[in-house]
Symmetry: D2
Subunit: 330 residues, 4 copies
């Protein structure tokens, strides 16, 4: 019987969603504690990444208790530095007072990391960037983005921080937009407690190969977390994993295994119109298939094909493993 890796999900997977059109929300809102209960009801999740602040009135102790009750651990804490106050950026906000608030809030979130015993503070500065040509001084953005993150890192040297990069949305362009730029910025910080959380879909719609992005980050010692989902390659659709790009997903997990990367296989999905628990279940079913496919993959043949850049040879063994019954016709 297969022993699978631990699975996880962003707690927001079990929230409801708004957008600029359906302003009444795709479903009734849920509280942090309800979301934890829903995550628990999936039955396959070991970890959640917890938004902070919690919904109204919920305390850290309640969250802690709810996690324990549902057999879950907090893998990370995600401070919401993308609300109205930060609409022109958290680290790179033009207003120094807002930047100071952002950093104070991140320090507060770091305390929640400590309280929950989470592995990292996840920082996704979705509003840091620009919308229009000429709107910002790009040199100044770099300085503010790098200096601000360094400041948070140095103030919290006992915990790990991961940056989740993304090409765009909600800003038309995000500052931390690719694996290479994030690695370059982290090097410029000169600290050792900042790494990267790699989102499969962000790499994909940003025009990266997610597998190549993973390898680059691993080779720079920076791949400290990751999550998966899917999209149509033009936007962060946060669809169910495996429904559009199963082959690149398989390459992604192959790359992680080849490098001995061991970590949580997390979901970052937004089931706008779907049952959130059932979406998680179906997604994990697919991830298990991927995991078993890695077990039967002819790795020697694949390595040999790659050494020749032999696309046909590589695809054949990949198809044999991923599309289990493909060989039956022969």
């Amino acid at each position: 019987m297969t022993t699978y890796p631990p699975f996880g999900a962003g707690l927001w997977h079990f929230a409801s969603y708004l957008d600029r059109y359906a302003t009444d929300g795709y479903a009734p809102p849920t509280t942090t504690l309800e979301q934890i209960a829903l995550a628990g009801s999936v039955g396959e999740l070991s970890f959640v990444d917890v938004n902070y602040p919690f919904t109204d009135g919920v305390t850290v102790d309640q969250v802690k208790a709810a996690l324990a009750e549902n057999g879950l651990e907090a893998i990370g804490v995600t401070p919401e530095i993308y609300m109205r106050k930060y609409s022109k950026g958290a680290f790179t906000n033009p207003d120094p007072a807002v930047r100071a608030e952002a950093i104070a809030f991140l320090n507060e979130a770091a305390d929640v990391v400590r309280a929950l015993g989470a592995r990292y503070l996840k920082v996704w500065p979705g509003q840091d960037g620009w919308d229009y040509p000429f709107q910002v001084n790009h040199g100044e953005q770099w300085r503010l983005a790098v200096d601000g993150m360094r400041e948070v890192a140095q103030a919290n040297s006992d915990i790990k921080i991961v940056i989740e990069y993304k090409p765009r949305e909600p800003r038309n362009k995000m500052f931390w937009d690719s694996a290479a730029k994030t690695a370059l910025g982290i090097k410029a910080m000169g600290v050792d407690n900042v790494g990267v959380l790699l989102d499969f879909g962000h790499a994909l719609y940003g025009g990266e190969s997610p597998a190549a992005a993973a390898q680059l980050l691993i080779d720079h010692g920076l791949l400290w977390g990751m999550d998966v989902n899917d999209n149509l390659r033009g936007w962060d659709d946060d669809m169910m994993v495996g429904t559009v790009h199963p082959v690149e997903l398989f390459e992604y997990f192959y790359t992680l295994r080849e490098n001995g990367w061991e970590g949580v296989w997390q979901l970052d999905q937004f089931p706008f119109r779907e049952d959130t628990v059932e979406t998680a279940k179906l997604s994990i079913r697919f991830l298990k298939h991927v995991y078993r496919a890695l077990d039967v993959l002819d790795v020697d043949a694949l390595r040999a094909a790659q050494a020749r850049q032999d696309a046909l040879g590589a695809q054949k063994v990949v198809q044999d493993a991923l599309f289990g019954t493909i060989g039956e016709g022969e």
Copy 2:
């Protein structure tokens, strides 16, 4: 002194916005009446396209009065068939009861068209489409989309209906997604009171040439309304007009003029982080520049260049007109 065409805007230009991250909104909410007052304060707008339903408690009579007070007319009414109830579609919702509600609601909105003396009912079925491969039966979607629109058209044969197509968002794929598909669907309806509202940005990020889309719709007798904005060609960013694609914008308005199309030059922009009134003013300033540039454009030279597919000849006269001082260096 130049006499400009009438300018207009979607009333939502003066609203505030949410998205899936900044769920507290980019600015405090405004009422329908406040939005009308803001539109009036632009000082250059003659028309607005009015969302329906109005914000809480506002009546048609109040809207009518507010429009008059602010020197505005309603060019169209846009029923909000993209809220939670319609999250799986209005016309193509899998639930016949929801489809019936949608049609009843559209008929109600048609009454508002009549009450306000507007030119058309604008139908933008943003939730009609699909998210995932295999999610829908595409033949059935066509039938429901076409039949439903015909039903609304026949029930309201005294008013005009315009469909605003868009490639995607909020659905991952929208059913009415291009000029040609919309024209094809309208022909299949067999009615004469359905046309198209062409959004410049929708054409652009859908991979169309907005000018070619306009020409196609004019040649099919279907261009009954239009609005403009800008984007980065990958999403409906609804940015200020002229800030990214001024040349294609100029070609678009050139095409309208060449065809003798006379209508309102409308804005469909979402100034998430900007002052809504100032955004409208700066946009209209740019549209006036475009209008004057059309006046000085050497149309004969341009036609002659087009007759040869002479890109250089065409661009030269276009640049002379649009970038007014470009000839000074010679």
Copy 3:
């Protein structure tokens, strides 16, 4: 034992290729007769689509003989109306003399269709379109494109003509760029011997759902041929089928089967750096897997899920069929 549909390929699948950089070609050139022999050596192909003119000195009789010898039939003939002479278009060339030459050449190609007993003349006007804003009069392009095709159709009313649409390349924008626009243009021709050849990859990178495009064309009685390949959704990469988008490919063939569409499953691939015969073999192996997966697909469950727009329900049965061993973990 499964009886598969007939397989086919563009004869160019067995050619060598140039591009604007590797002007010495990715492999030594091959003659038409050598290409036929290579196609024959795949051992699974029943049909080829034949470029015209043939390589130097090869005659129709030689082609006929070679096809017979290799157990192949010509499904179509593809005239090369995209060489230097036609670089500003065949049907829409600004020079009437070139347009006349194009039509004469197409009539000549129609004779080859007759001589080879092929099913259709395939017309892919890759140079008909535009590169720059303002380069063409879009109304004039429509007239020339539609009138020219009608003229060819009327002059050859005994044979079928299929238009292969494509969003772009080699022109920055192609005139026939989507299923809907092509259907609209064909209707305007008022002839009954023009249909569409749908290329899976063209639909995909044009932002269409290939399955939805197929359904639309079937519902308009216009899907007369099709071919498959794959790409990264931003360009016509003409990669091996199934290597990137197997799920949408499966949906495409499901749609064909649901509609009782029976035709040749053709390959349109450009193996720039790969062995052309082995590429065809691996591709057909994948297509056979798809065909068998359709046999085991729980169609009733899928239809029921689609009737509810139930993405989870649909994906589950699709994954069960396509990823044969996915259920093993349960």
Copy 4:
């Protein structure tokens, strides 16, 4: 009277082109010496970037003489490491013999840099990358790409080398694909004679802001050369500069000026269907307009707007400068 910066062009701007369809070429071929004469005839060019090897039989001395005769200097030499031999890569070719040949050839090209007194060896490894998921080991690609470039740099420590990055084409994905990744790789080389040539269009269609890419490279001391063109944001169309994205072009040159970057304003365009000399002339006319617009730009107001992230304020002064007559309506 305005003193403009020196202008330059890739010598290929004056060549003719093939693609995979128009294999007979868009125009008759020209020799290296003819291309130099054409470049000279533009009358505004001071520099050319010279492809190597030269066309058949042309010697370095002939090139030197022809450049002098036409009032041109070689700014760089571009070795053609993208022909058939290198179709699976130059630096990252799976065959060590081909890699050795590539490096020997680059060393030979470095001698041409010395002979022509050019400023740099320009290295554009267009075939280094991958086409298919699973085709390469991404860690190995990084090692080969970085080690090979270091080897060339160390063997030619007396000359400068610039890497021109590009997202894709001819490979489906290129290894050196963004400003940040190239900077990261150069840092890993540990040499001081490798920098970057930034192509405006490559940044644009790769989803970068060209201005932000320029700033990042300047801040890392790596912007050693640049060229411009335009495209439709989905492919490297190499269109005439200013015809699609004049605003982002203006931001790009503004960023260069703000940083005191002084260098040659080069064209990298492929006028497939246009007169090559006239294309260069019209392009330089536009660049002169941009240069003069920078002279009249209200830089203080722009900086102040950027300090507030005030998109409206920034766009207003930008429009005043770029669209010279826009203020006339007020």
